[in-house]
Amino acid sequence: MPQPTPEPAHAHGLRIQDQPESPRSPEDQIDAWLDVLVRLLDLPADEREGLRDELAAHLHERVRDLTLAGTDSTNPNTAPHTDPVTRAIAELGDQAELARALRNARHTPRRRRTLMLAGLIGTSAAALLISTAALVQSSAAPRTPNAVAAAAVAADTDEPGVLEMPITGTYEKARVSEVLRDVAAQVGRDVRFSRNLSEHLSMVLEPGGEPVHKKVTAALKSMPLEEAVNRLGIAMRYDEGLLQVRDRGDHLFFGFRPELDEMEAFLMTHDLAPLLDLGLASSEIHGVLTQFVEPDEWRYNGGTFAIEIVREKALVEAPPRMQAGVEETLAVLEASFARQPDDPRSREIDLEHVVAPARGGASPQTRETIERIFDGLAAAYPGAPTPAVAIDYDTHSYMVYGNLHQRNLAKQVIERFDAEPATIPGTP
């Protein structure tokens, strides 16, 4: 095989800048490189592991071939000290670009549409979550310490002021870490990076080598902080929304979305009783949630986050964005299947006084007729509330207890059977 020209040195990373300069085994170097790549993939866990294994096999075979071939002194592009591992990794190119290409390749057109729909649901649901989260969490199941901590993190992010503050700056091949520091300084915050982002932004190629910094060219013109960070991510060839920022009070925290999602995931219960009352099955609700709310992210579909339905509750361990998606989807389902007020199974029960139109007042025979009709309704609409009828002799009225459909039927019977004889239709 011809020896490919190594990519420019700045494109590759093997270890964090601040780590001690200890020689690492080829296995460790390859693992470290793959760790960062896999974090950037933003794919379901099984697909991430598959790509990792495939690329690991490639790297090990390539290292073996390069080692057997020895130093290629005839190739002017190969630095004399370049070892087989460094070179094999260099041939794979920049992690972010490879991750982007792999992500795009994996998404079929149908899957892209699904993800877009899920994204729309998630976005539109954000406001709903903020308004309902406190209410729902008050009835939540006991939460793990991790979940409590994560919820605290989520609460910290509910400060729209900082994330919406305008950012301005023009950067020409500037170090990304410095650009993000500048962005943070504009809103009066210090800055911290997640582990994977830190590894990706500042790396050295080999023990003793100079650190290589990821650079970016971008122009930000008075745009909200969150949007500015996304714009920088796109300028670095990341997918839309992959680079994220959180306001942590004294500092801004930057990281990749999958990392932050895992950090911020918390346990929350969602009440399913209204939907179950409407006749939906637990399995149907589970199916809708795992197909329409970021489908690839659920453990059920090979992703990371959990959803289980226990009796009348959905237990969901997921980041705030997905919790909002679940809440929104449940609301959409409830609105779609909600019964009309006169639905025979409606549980909106009320007590209504119906004055007997006949001069003789309310009649036990009419009440019995109504009760027989109620018995027939119970057989026709299992699950409907049980109605009742009684006579109030003081007011010459019937007291009808039931939903609107049941009360209306009772009223029809009363109007027909208690009518004055002369007004009975068809009577001469």
């Binding site: 294994d53 096999a57 490639h58 390539r62 041939e91 190119g93 490879l98 290409a101 390749a105 994996r106």
Partner: protein, 115 residues
Amino acid sequence: MHAKADTHELVILSLIAEEPIYGYALAKRAAARSEGLVTLTPAALYPLLARLEADKLVSTSWEAVKANPDDEAAKGRRRKWYRLTAKGRKRLDQRAKAARLFAKTIEAFLPAEGA
């Protein structure tokens, strides 16, 4: 699709059609067969293979690879093998037909060798 990507797809589908093969071997065979004229870099090869798999043009399976196959306790690596599907065969036939037509068309305009 980009012309280069078309060529790469034709090369990859053609080699997979010959026999099941894995990524690294595929890159080596493409270079050897073309005497170095076709270079499938990993950055081009693996995303393309992923797309072919997503489009169901190839099917895949995994093979456990161990330094010592007799050592059952050893944790080995996994190698991903690619096979052509019926849909992939159809795509290969289309690509080959287009490539032959292109070569024939260009041939008509080339001056005689040494002229």
